[in-house]
């Protein structure tokens, strides 16, 4: 049994505030590292050091070099830009579609609602990773296609969420008042209902970034994502796999980067949810 004070301390340390600050900290540091990659990276991401091929981590190459003699640390920093960019744009797309359909569905109800909800049901039954894979392989795997396809296959949760919020908000007095005052529907939706439904959407968006980063890295790992020589964490792992026995560092660090980043967004999203949902607070 641990002494009481230590248990208390651990409890405090592992509490919500720690989750929030840890998540926020990771997200900020990773974003900063990605944005400042050109300043922080010791070498350009595609520069080859041909006399230092597959070198283990050293003081000169902090995380070692790959098969073409490129610095793994520099490539990790640049790979972070790809992950971040894909995460944000893909989530931007899915949130826009999801919010719009959710607002329409919840506000107009009747057959519009029925049609949109059935579409959501269909999309949820899609083996979506199969479809993403097929479409990306056909469309030339480049960054734009990946972001669009991930965005187009991940809006369903947002739609359900926004619809539920809208359904309850539309019955409130301030919406009725706005309608009585003659506000056009578009204004009611965007000015009166949307801002009140925004908090859960933001949480979903935070968690969505994590999901999009995972999908992008899986695609890149299968060779269907970001194409070499552009560095992405997924394709670095793919390249590392071929030399996993002689150069294990190539298979360790990019994965660690994905793990930490995704963890950061998940921690941030979950702790925000706990803060905003009073039922879960104790």
């Amino acid at each position: 049994m641990l002494p009481f004070s230590i248990r208390n301390m651990l409890r405090g340390l592992l509490g919500h505030n720690l989750m929030l600050s840890l998540g926020l900290g990771i997200v900020l540091i990773m974003s900063l590292a990605a944005v400042c990659a050109p300043l922080l990276a010791p070498y350009p991401p595609t520069a080859q050091h041909l006399d230092h091929i597959l070198e283990a981590p050293s003081s000169r190459f902090w995380l070692g070099t790959d098969r073409l003699g490129r610095d793994v640390f520099s490539r990790l920093l640049y790979g972070g830009r790809v992950s971040l960019w894909v995460g944000f744009v893909a989530v931007g797309i899915s949130i826009s579609i999801g919010t719009m359909l959710g607002l329409i569905s919840g506000y107009f109800r009747r057959w519009v609602d029925e049609a949109i909800m059935r579409l959501v049901d269909i999309m949820l039954c899609f083996p979506s990773f199969f479809l993403i894979l097929a479409v990306i392989a056909f469309l030339e795997p480049d960054l734009t296609n990946i972001m669009v396809v991930i965005g187009l296959t991940s809006w369903m949760g947002v739609t359900r969420l926004v619809r539920a919020e809208t359904l309850s908000l539309r019955e409130r007095e301030f919406v009725a008042a706005a309608r009585l005052a003659g506000s056009p529907t578009r204004r009611i939706l965007l000015r009166h209902i949307l801002p009140n439904a925004l908090a859960p959407v933001l949480i979903t968006a935070t968690l969505g970034v994590a999901g999009a980063i995972l999908v992008e890295s899986s695609l890149s790992f299968l060779g269907l994502g970001v194409q070499p020589p552009t560095a992405s964490w997924g394709n670095m792992l793919m390249e590392g796999k071929t030399v996993i026995e002689s150069a294990p560092w190539l298979s360790v660090y990019p994965g660690l980067a994905i793990l930490v980043t995704v963890l950061g967004y998940n921690l941030l999203g979950e702790s925000l949810r706990d803060l905003l949902d009073p039922r879960l607070r104790r």
Binding site: L2, R7, L10, R11, L14, D121, I122, L124, C125, F126, P127, S128, F129, F130, L131, L133, A134, V135, A137, F138, L139, E140, A210, L214, S217, S218, F221, L222, L237, G240, K241, I244, E245, P248, S251, V252, P254, G255, I258, L259, V260, V262, L263, N266, L267, E270, R282
Partner: protein, 344 residues
């Protein structure tokens, strides 16, 4: 309302469930049709063609050869004719022939790959349930304890862990450093000459790592969900009543809480099918296992339309079947649905 006699209520329950299943099945056929419609169009309108491999990439084949091949595959017809033709054949469970060099029926190729993928998923799903449910219960009953916190940390790590990275790390540790387990393929070179027990051991050692990866992948979500459901149930008034009656806490948890908390888990199981199918592409390609995921990956790379459509349809059917089974199980398990055939 007066209490119905046992015989009548059993018949009523049966019709209620049957009606439910019938309605559900009809709706699912519609969804399936929607999925085929969307996928067929998306896949056929995307650039590239199954004939690329034999023509554009082959300097000896000219335009005439390409046209002959397209006519052979029926790709020269308008898209809606192709779709109608494909759909009509699907009604007879004819998925067409693969457009790859072997030209074998799609269904045959899928059916020989299906058992491995399904078996791996089933074993890992069973493991996930066996581990996650007790963990979820323990965390919920001791909410905010050190154990609960520790599990939460592990769950977050599990959520963030990319499955392919975990696979690489396990290969590195168990396969290369310790040399305990083989890192790829389904069987060893000398498989044919092994005794039945030896064959089983050989298969098991090849499948241990992939199943471990699948299991870890499912564990985080399931235990988190179980914990949430359990917490929700423990807050209910009937738990308070049971406590007030002076029932022992073990009995309250087993009889009153667990049985109710397991209901949403059934639904989650049904919903997890698309994720499992998607995950099989990655895990099978890392461990070089001849399963469905690998088949699909090859088909995508060769733009084998019939094969891709076959896989998408099968994936959708498995997903829908998972939903339906979950729904039936839910109906059988929840007396409120049993009684009136409708989920409230």
């Amino acid at each position: 309302m007066d209490t119905p006699s046992p015989a009548r209520s059993r018949r009523g329950r049966f019709t209620a469930i049957a009606l439910r299943i019938a309605r559900k099945t009809l709706w699912m056929l519609l969804v399936l049709w929607g999925i085929t419609l969307i996928s067929f169009w998306v896949i056929h309108l995307a650039p590239g063609s199954p004939t690329d491999m034999e023509t554009t990439l082959n300097p000896l084949a000219g335009e005439a050869a390409r046209q002959r091949l397209e006519a052979l595959y029926g790709l020269d017809r308008p898209l809606y004719v192709q779709y109608a033709d494909w759909l009509l054949r699907l009604l007879h469970f004819d998925f067409g022939n693969s457009m790859s060099a072997d030209a074998r029926p799609v269904l045959d190729k899928i059916l020989e790959r299906l058992p491995l993928t399904v078996a791996m998923n089933a074993v890992s799903l069973a493991l996930v349930l066996l581990i996650a449910i007790p963990i979820g219960i323990l965390s919920a009953c001791r909410q905010n304890s050190l154990l609960d916190r520790g599990v939460t940390v592990l769950v977050f790590l599990g959520f963030a862990m990319p499955s392919f990275w975990l696979a690489l790390l396990l290969m590195l540790f168990f396969g290369i450093d310790l040399q305990w387990l083989p890192i790829s393929g389904l069987t060893s070179m000398d498989y044919a000459s092994l005794s039945p027990w030896g064959k089983f051991r050989d298969l098991a050692s090849h499948l241990a790592l992939p199943i471990l990866v699948y299991t870890v992948g499912g564990l985080a979500g399931m235990s988190r969900y179980m914990r949430a459901c359990m917490l929700e149930v423990l807050r209910q008034d009937y738990i308070l009543t049971a406590k007030a009656k002076g029932l022992p806490s073990g009995l309250i948890i087993r009889r009153h809480a667990l049985r109710n908390a397991l209901l949403p888990v059934i639904t989650l199981l049904g919903l997890s099918v698309p994720g499992l199918i998607g995950g099989s592409v990655i895990i099978e390609s890392i461990f070089a296992l001849p399963g469905l995921g690998q088949l699909f990956y090859t088909a995508v790379m060769a733009r084998d339309y019939t094969m891709i459509m076959g896989n998408l349809v099968l994936g959708a059917v498995l997903t829908l079947a998972g939903n339906l089974l979950a729904d039936i199980a839910y109906g059988l398990a929840d007396p409120r649905i049993r009684a009136n055939g409708e989920r409230n």
